[in-house]
Each structure stands twice: as C-alpha cells, then as structure tokens.
Symmetry: C2
Subunit: 102 residues, 2 copies
DNA sequence: CTCTTGTATGACTTATTCATCATATGAAGT
DNA sequence: ACTTCATATGATGAATAAGTCATACAAGAG
C-alpha cells in the first residue's frame, strides 16, 4: 500500500476550489481555462495552479487547441469516485453537524 | 454537490497515519486501541485523535467491550474506495516522480 | 517582430492541519 | 473510595498547504 501516493491523491481532492473545478467540468464537459475561470468564479492564476495539481494526479487531461488549453475530466476515475462519495456523504452526513465551519 | 463535506471526507483520508490505521484494520480486522497503537507504531494519543476523526467521518465504527474500545472499518465505503484508488494509483503513478517528498 | 490573448510559474504571506504534551475520563478490580 | 488499565481530550508549537501578486511564456494576429 503506497501511503504517500494515496495521501497525495486524496489531498488533491480535499480542496473546495479543486472540487469546484471538477464539478464544473463534470457538468459542462471539456472547457478551456478562461471558461473555467468564469464558470467557477476564481482567479485565473488560482485556477491554473489547481488545474496543474489536478493534472499531476491525472484527474484531468489537457489538449492544446491553438493558444487555448482544453481541460477535461478523467472520467474513468473521477466518476465512480464521486459516486461512491455521494453515497457515503448522503448516508452518513445527511445533516452534517460536524465542525464543517468554513 | 456538497463541497464542504466532500472536502472533509477526502481530507480525512489524506493523511498517512490515518491511512496506516485503515490499512491495519483492513488486514487484521476489528482491534482495540492498544492493539492498533502497537500495530501501526504510533503514539496512543495520536492514534486516538485519528480514530476520532475517522469515526466522525464514519470510516470506522466503535464497540465498547469492557474498558476496551474495539474499532472496525466501515467496509461498505472503504473497501470500494480503496479499490478505486488502487487502480488509479497503479495506472497513473507507477513510478511517481512527483514531489512526493515527505 | 510587436502586440494581444490565453495560460503558467515562482516567491511570498497567510491559513489550515498535524503531532505532541499534559491531563482528563471511564470502567473494573481491590 | 482508591488504583490501575484503556482510551479520550484540549491547548499549543511546528509543519504543510493554499491563495495572491507580479511576472513569464507561448501562440497566433497584424
């Protein structure tokens, strides 16, 4: 069990901005950075930093298109992963009282 | 999509000590705190803190047994989750060059 | 070859998370 | 009631991660 890699992969998902990006790409399909920035309402540099991180973990793929870069989800992993978490969260966190203050 | 909850759940998994505990419970079945402490070779207080966190997220269950507390995995979520991550990590992180320095 | 548009990078500051220590609680036994 | 064994909790300093700012790079367009 490669704990370090696991940690990195989970940590990448443990961030609201990256989750926002994932969610956006899931709903709207492949998009370039500008569209993502507009869609998730975050700064361009922040989006780029986070896309980089997501890409390093292979949660997203890139394709150059002229001067744009089009990002899309690696659905093979992300889809079932989010489905699992949905089930878990909805089962156990229906009305999450925990210190979810942020 | 409840980003906050997702974040919390993923963050709980994004920690080597908690992953160690999960791994230990997965291999050895239900165990009390003392056994876990011995098995994962971490301080008792650290183990307790982490068990608490895992429990809050319902990744583990507890059962009082005399003065012991016996913890076990919530296999319904953890098993498929780890299976998914295994596949992902092994596919994409075969020889992970990334800044996995720790 | 300069300008513009789109995107990435690096350095730095701040915020979050972790590990540790001291201490508390709780159940049984005497 | 006191002691012991098993486990939990709270506070705090240390480590890690996140966001921001300034700037760089890259690909066309003119």
């Amino acid at each position: 069990m490669m704990n370090k890699s696991y940690k990195r992969f989970f940590r990448t998902l443990a961030n609201v901005n990256r989750l926002k990006i994932i969610h956006f790409l899931q709903e709207r399909g492949a998009k370039n950075v500008t569209d993502i920035v507009e869609g998730v309402k975050l700064e361009q540099t922040l989006v780029s930093h986070n896309l980089k991180r997501l890409h390093e973990c292979h949660f997203v793929e890139v394709k150059q298109n002229g001067k744009e870069r089009v990002y899309s989800l690696n659905k093979k992993t992300i889809q079932p992963l989010l489905a699992l978490m949905d089930r878990h969260v909805n089962t156990y966190c229906v009305n999450c009282k925990e210190d979810d203050h942020e």
